[in-house]
């Protein structure tokens, strides 16, 4: 093989060197078979990065005070030097938009290109959750539609009205997600068309005459079947379709927030995998270039320094310990998968008989495509990673006076740690499982939600505050019942009290 030319660079980046890095990294990525959307790299300054942060990574956001609050707090922390900004931000869209911070050095820009434009990008394109739930071709259009629609509503119905509605929707955003059904694809034009049709249809259904009829005393209630027949997990969807008093435009806004929640849902479920995958690849891609003599030693030294910072995992007893670093965990698992394929030990053959000694590229590709954090950890967290990170499990039981170490990195503990850690990333374990239980549409129109108690945990103190938001959307009495596994009623919150 002929000696390759070193990609020249100075510590300051310029567009020529960026293009060159991008091209070379792209070449190597193709050799490794990374399948990506086309890239669009945008250079932005720190202020714009803070804007991007504040709008939770939506390139075009609707207006809401909570984003302003977010911005103010980021700005303050950044100006005081209490917080650095991320080197990049990447949007799951097609083409895949990556923001590069202008303050980065040339080396950092190269890392970001490898990390985001090839790592995250490939993940967005191929992971099953993203494929099912998000539509990268349509998202920018949809965000544009959402902003215009909400602005239009603000003009028509007043700022406060829209703001109140958005507040309530935001409070329920995590409960605006379908966990099992598949959503149909949407494009902005279709969406606008459908929205008009829905509005027109609903308008025709209103007949003023009905409201003049004298109210009859209600017939026997018990005979009617409960509505909905099955509990509904998507509370926002249920409200959009069934809330008695919402105007058509209000239903539309509920729908917009629900759609956005759904768009972000896969990201919340694949933090470890997504970051781990991107970190694994920025390391692998740049190292490959180095091995071919295309990167200088000086480049590699700076690169390794940044890389070790990214995957630094403080131990639990440090004051700045902030949980397990998803970059570290994900990167370690992917690295170890490669090792298991390339240099399997007897232990690996025992734990991973189906992959030990296989081709590592296909194995990693399969893992990236078909899992989310929870299942990924349950499937691939190897004893070696547990040993290397010295993971241990700690139980906090309110009935016990002390904390108990339940498992450590030994033969007896591997399986337990795997299970507990996997659960830690299961969203249904992190958020209380609250579903729509009953809506008495033909009676007093009250809405009943149910929380099925999990591991003896009760709901937080602010539950009633959230319930007020549900009440605002529903318009009639809202109840939240805590029941145990057998359906025994433990506690009821009600709004208005």
């Amino acid at each position: 093989m002929k000696a390759e030319q070193i990609i020249s660079h100075t510590s300051e980046w310029n567009f020529e060197s960026l293009k060159e890095f991008e091209w070379h990294i792209g070449q190597v990525a193709t050799e490794y078979g990374l399948d990506t959307f086309p890239n669009q790299l945008e250079i932005i300054n720190s202020e714009q990065m803070m804007d991007a942060y504040a709008s939770v990574g939506m390139p075009i956001g609707y207006y809401h005070w909570s984003f302003g609050k977010q911005f103010l707090s980021i700005e303050k922390n950044y100006r005081r030097g209490q917080m650095g900004l991320a080197y990049e931000m990447v949007i799951n869209s097609n083409p895949c938009i990556t923001y590069l911070l202008e303050e980065n050095t040339a080396v950092m820009q190269a890392i970001v290109i490898a990390h985001a434009c090839y790592g995250h990008n490939a993940f967005f394109k191929n992971n099953y959750l993203f494929k099912t739930w998000t539509h990268p071709e349509a998202i920018i259009d949809y965000l544009l539609f959402a902003r215009h629609y909400i602005t239009e509503c603000e003009e028509k119905y007043g700022l406060t009205q829209v703001e109140d509605l958005l507040d309530s929707c935001h409070a329920l955003m995590n409960y605006g997600v379908d966990r099992y059904q598949h959503p149909p694809p949407l494009s902005a034009a279709q969406e606008r068309q459908r929205q008009r049709e829905r509005e027109a249809y609903l308008q025709t259904q209103i007949n003023i005459l009905w409201s003049t009829l004298p109210q009859k005393s209600s017939p026997k209630l018990k005979e009617r079947p409960r509505f909905p027949l099955e509990p509904q997990e998507n509370i926002l969807y249920f409200i959009e379709k069934n809330a008695p008093l919402l105007e058509p435009w209000q239903r539309e806004i509920v729908r917009i927030i629900r759609k956005l929640a759904q768009y972000f849902y896969p990201q919340r479920q694949t933090k470890v995998m997504n970051e781990g995958w991107a970190t694994f690849w920025h390391y692998t891609l740049l190292n490959t270039l180095y091995e071919r003599g295309q990167l200088s030693d000086a480049f590699m030294l700076e690169f390794l320094q940044h890389h070790t910072q990214v995957i630094f995992q403080p131990s639990f007893d440090k004051p700045y310990y902030n949980g397990i670093n998803p970059y570290t965990l994900g990167n370690n698992i992917f690295n170890d998968l490669r090792r298991i394929c390339e240099y399997p030990t007897p232990e690996d053959k025992n734990w991973f008989p189906e992959i030990a000694g296989n081709d590592w590229l296909t194995t990693l590709d399969f893992a990236m495509r078909n899992f989310k954090d929870e299942s990924f950890i349950a499937q691939y967290l190897s004893p070696k990673v547990i040993r290397d990170m010295r993971l241990f499990a700690l139980a906090d039981d309110e009935r016990e006076p002390e904390l108990i170490v339940t498992a450590i990195h030994n033969e007896a503990g591997y399986e337990a740690i795997r299970q507990i850690l996997a659960k830690q990333y299961d969203l249904s374990q992190i958020e209380p499982n609250i579903q729509v239980y009953e809506a008495k549409l033909k009676d007093d129109r009250s809405l009943t939600l149910r929380y099925v108690q999990h591991a003896g945990k009760s709901l937080a103190k602010n539950t009633l505050e959230v319930l007020k938001h549900v009440y605002r959307l529903w318009g009639f009495t809202v109840r939240l019942e805590t029941v145990d596994k057998r359906g025994k009623l433990l506690k009821t919150y009600q709004c208005p009290e």
Binding site: E22, Q48, Y99, L459
Partner: protein, 422 residues
């Protein structure tokens, strides 16, 4: 296909609308925070924004969450000596919270804190004072600009034509254009001379002569002055250096001036300062506080100390007069004075105040404003000052009872000043 886009030149304030909405929504809390901060803020600090803390509970966005009970099992990293089954004491609540507190540098953890920009701060600050928008921008405006010469430009109006620079250019251009022709011409002329000495063919001779006359014509047609040569004087605006001013702030700090009264006084002085900085580029402040004795103090002491005892206003006026004479001759300085008091004065002292004002102060000052804050009743001092007011049109006096009155009063006080100046 990869695209690179430079977005740095795009508008950066994408979040402005969101930010404004946040401020609008929590106006009440932010105003409260400003009111608290105003005690700490320096009078002369008109350039910075303000750090605002508001309680987090007021701006929370609630979501369904688990409470802190039940059974929980988590995985942590970095085990050193634990074995399975080991029991550890729970970390104490107080310990955990004191640790996080230490990082917050005195702010309560329950506070949401952020910075308001200068404009946002004044927007809210002045709103409290019921300041009409028009005046507000006037006060906050940058100083006047004067046009000064800064080099030359290729375009301009004829009256700004710079003759010597234009002629220099013309000369340079003419030399540059003519030189090659002249070189050729002299060569041809020597040739011609040679031909004329040795007889030659007529045709060659005429050709040579033709060439020479053509060259001469070319030299002649190089214009004396071309559009390219013209240079115009170029002007850029620069802040106009204005004359200097000094402002005397005189405040009664006797026992009867409580915190509320001082707060009103401070707001008044702050507005006054803004007003003066608008008109003068260089402004100095002199703080004089008095009870029975007057002392010149720093701003810090001026607003934060509290003394007890009686009141002799004339002591402050004497002090002011002394300082004026020593440091601020009225030929070089525009002198302003603002006095805030609750009107309490030792009765026998008031006539003396009148004399000092009439004879030694009023002839030298641009403007003297007297502000009586929440007086119990109008006393001898007010009567004495009324007499001064009759004699001097640049003397103004007002009483004030609440914050909302500060701005109208200030306007009333300075309406005259503006006409007086113009």
């Amino acid at each position: 296909m990869t695209h690179f886009i430079d977005r740095r030149l795009n508008g950066k304030n994408k979040s402005t609308v969101n930010r404004q909405r946040f401020i609008k929504r929590y106006k009440a809390q932010i105003k409260q925070a400003i009111a608290n901060n105003i005690y700490k803020r320096s009078v002369t600090d008109t350039r910075h924004g303000e750090q605002i803390n508001i309680p987090l509970r007021d701006i929370n966005e609630p979501m369904f969450e688990y409470g802190q009970s039940g059974y929980q099992e988590i995985v942590l990293s970095g085990n050193k000596e634990f074995v399975a089954g080991e029991r550890l004491p729970r970390p104490l609540e107080a310990e955990a919270s004191s640790q996080s507190q230490a990082h917050n540098y005195g702010q309560s953890e329950d506070d949401f804190s952020f910075e308001l920009s200068r404009e946002e701060f004044y927007e809210l600050f002045f709103e409290d004072l019921a300041l009409p928008h028009l005046i507000k921008t006037q006060l906050l405006q940058e100083p006047h600009y004067k046009l000064i010469r800064t080099g030359y430009s290729r375009t301009g109006v004829p009256s700004k034509l710079n003759i010597s620079r234009s002629l220099k250019n013309s000369l340079g251009r003419r030399i540059g254009l003519i030189k090659p022709y002249q070189k050729e011409l002299s060569e041809l002329q020597t040739q011609l001379a040679q031909f004329e000495q040795a007889p030659a063919e007529d045709s060659q001779l005429t050709q040579l002569k033709q060439q020479i006359s053509l060259l001469k014509l070319k030299i002649k047609t190089v214009p004396y002055l071309d559009n390219l040569d013209l240079r115009y004087n170029y002007y850029t605006p620069q802040p106009e250096p204005t004359t200097q001013a000094v402002m005397f702030c005189i405040m009664d700090v006797s026992g009867s001036m409580d915190e509320t009264k001082k707060d009103l006084a401070k707001r008044f002085f702050m507005l006054l300062y803004l007003f003066l900085t608008h008109n003068y580029e260089k402004i100095e402040l002199v703080f004089i506080r008095h009870h029975t004795l007057a002392t010149e103090v720093t701003e810090e002491e001026f607003f934060y100390s509290r003394e007890t005892g009686g009141t002799v206003v004339s002591s402050a006026l004497e002090q002011m007069q002394a300082i004026m004479q020593a440091r601020y001759p009225s030929t070089d300085w525009n002198i302003y004075a603002a006095q805030a008091s609750d009107g309490d004065n030792w009765n026998a002292d008031s006539p003396q105040c009148k004399t000092i004002l009439l004879n030694s102060i009023m002839p030298y000052v641009q403007y003297y404003a007297y502000l009586e804050i929440m007086p119990r009743e109008q006393q001898s001092l007010w009567q004495a000052y009324l007499a001064v007011k009759e004699r001097y049109s640049n003397f103004a006096m007002q009483t004030i009872h609440s914050r909302e009155e500060i701005y109208p009063v200030l306007r009333e006080l300075f309406k005259k000043a503006e006409t007086y100046e113009s």
